[in-house]
């Protein structure tokens, strides 16, 4: 390993290939929002390798159980979603905030902008938070979200998904993504899922059914591991 000089910093690996492009015309909203000018390559300075240490004071006891945030139980199929957050070298990302949000079992979000004529559930908000443990593990109890229509194209439906927002250790590791359910028949018709061009990378967005997580007489279990960027051991970016 190269000796790091004072003031030099090992940057995070660039992993452009795994991510969708900004412009993916089949997803119509990208057409007027994707930048057209080439991105400016930013070295990883102290600004990018530090990042918000955020959310530690926010977490309430029931924040990771989306089925117990109201007086009664929400309708729908109760599920457990669990997994680990790892960095690109397989190390756990510890004590790091995960935020999730999702539609209810009927495919409706508690959001004034959601006009889908499916019922709201007075016992379901669909928002949760959790801090990963020492092994990078997290666990949510929720109901399986429904598919819902959107106006991207004729007869467009989103496959069932849960939104995930993660910080990781640095500004450069921030990730917002969506978790899908195995075998969803809508995958081939969804431009947001298909915007990830590499089929192997796409599969990393799909959770797997997990009998070990499944609790008898209670709830099906799904496993979804999340990998944030890995870090160079040597100060590469500073020598570009």
């Amino acid at each position: 390993m190269v000796q790091q000089q004072k003031g030099e910093i090992g940057g995070y690996r660039r992993d452009t290939e795994s991510h969708p492009p900004y412009l993916y015309p089949d997803y119509k909203s990208t057409r007027l929002r994707a930048p057209e000018k080439p991105l400016v390559i930013s070295p990883h300075t102290l600004s990018e390798v530090t990042g918000p240490v955020y959310g530690h004071g926010l977490i309430g006891e029931l924040d990771n159980d989306l089925t117990r945030q109201h007086e009664g139980e929400p309708l729908g199929e109760r599920i457990i979603v669990t997994g680990r957050v790892l960095d690109g070298d397989g190390r756990p990302v510890r004590n790091s905030l995960i935020e999730v949000w999702q539609a209810n079992a009927a495919g409706r979000y508690v959001h004034q902008g959601d006009r889908h004529p499916a019922p709201l559930d007075p016992n379901f908000t669909g928002a949760g938070r959790y801090l990963t443990d020492d092994e990078g593990r997290y666990r949510f109890v929720t109901v399986k979200p429904g598919a819902y229509p959107w106006k991207n194209h004729d007869n467009a439906w989103r496959p069932a998904h849960i939104h995930f927002s993660l910080f990781g250790p640095a500004f450069a590791t921030r990730l917002v993504t969506q978790m899908y359910f195995p075998g969803d028949p809508l995958f081939d018709h969804d431009p947001i899922f298909q915007s990830v061009r590499d089929p192997k990378a796409r599969q990393r967005l799909v959770s797997s059914f997990d009998l070990e997580t499944t609790e008898p007489e209670w709830a099906l279990g799904y496993r979804f591991d999340i990998v944030l960027r890995g870090r160079d051991a040597t100060p590469m970016e500073n020598h570009r």
Partner: protein, 189 residues
């Protein structure tokens, strides 16, 4: 063991109730002695306002220190009540506003100082991954001219999109254009 990263997906239009249930746009109190208000409007490639985006900012404190374990320059003070992180949605007119302070100088590549700057991440429907930009300050002409990242941008007009402008009410204006002639400079971080 090398693992491939989980791909990014759009934040979509329905995140507000989960991510913005508390106002996190004020990093300091409005009556802080060196308060800086930064506001602007976000527009798309058709010049229409973007009413459903979220901005996050990350910055050092006035001494140039980040509230993060990796910034271990203990000779510089940390303040318990300044995290350096903020979040703000755009409103129906595409506007956002942060209440914060101007950060100090922080070290950059090869020990060269970086001009005071604030990192910005933008999330929105239609953005399959976040956009990243930086806010620089108009009263830092010399530092901006010497800033390693700013000075690496040869296109003068593009570079100037990163410098906020002073307004008559004392706040700073930093408009965002996602596309088009006036497009803001965005970074590959």
């Amino acid at each position: 063991m090398k693992l491939e990263p989980t791909p990014s997906q759009t934040v979509g239009p329905f995140f507000h109730y989960a991510l913005l249930d508390e106002d996190q746009s004020k990093l300091v109190a409005s009556d802080h002695p060196s308060v800086t208000r930064i506001k602007g409007t976000m527009r798309d490639g058709a010049g229409e306002v973007v009413p459903d985006a979220m901005l996050e900012i990350w910055q050092a404190n006035a001494a140039g220190r980040y509230a993060h374990p990796e910034d271990d320059r203990e000779d510089l003070p940390l303040e318990d009540d300044f995290s350096g992180f903020g979040r703000c949605p755009t409103d129906a007119e595409g506007r956002y506003e942060f209440v914060t302070i101007k950060p100090g100088v922080v070290p950059g590549p090869e020990g060269r100082p970086q001009a005071p700057h604030i990192l910005v991440s933008i999330f929105a429907r239609g953005l399959l991954k976040q956009l990243v930009t930086r806010i620089y300050f108009p009263d830092e002409e010399a530092a901006n001219a010497a800033d390693p990242l700013l000075s690496s941008i040869e296109d003068h007009a593009l570079r100037s999109t990163l410098v906020a402008s002073a307004t008559s009410d004392g706040s700073l204006r930093f408009d965002l254009h996602l596309q088009g002639e006036d497009q803001t400079a965005f970074f590959d971080v």
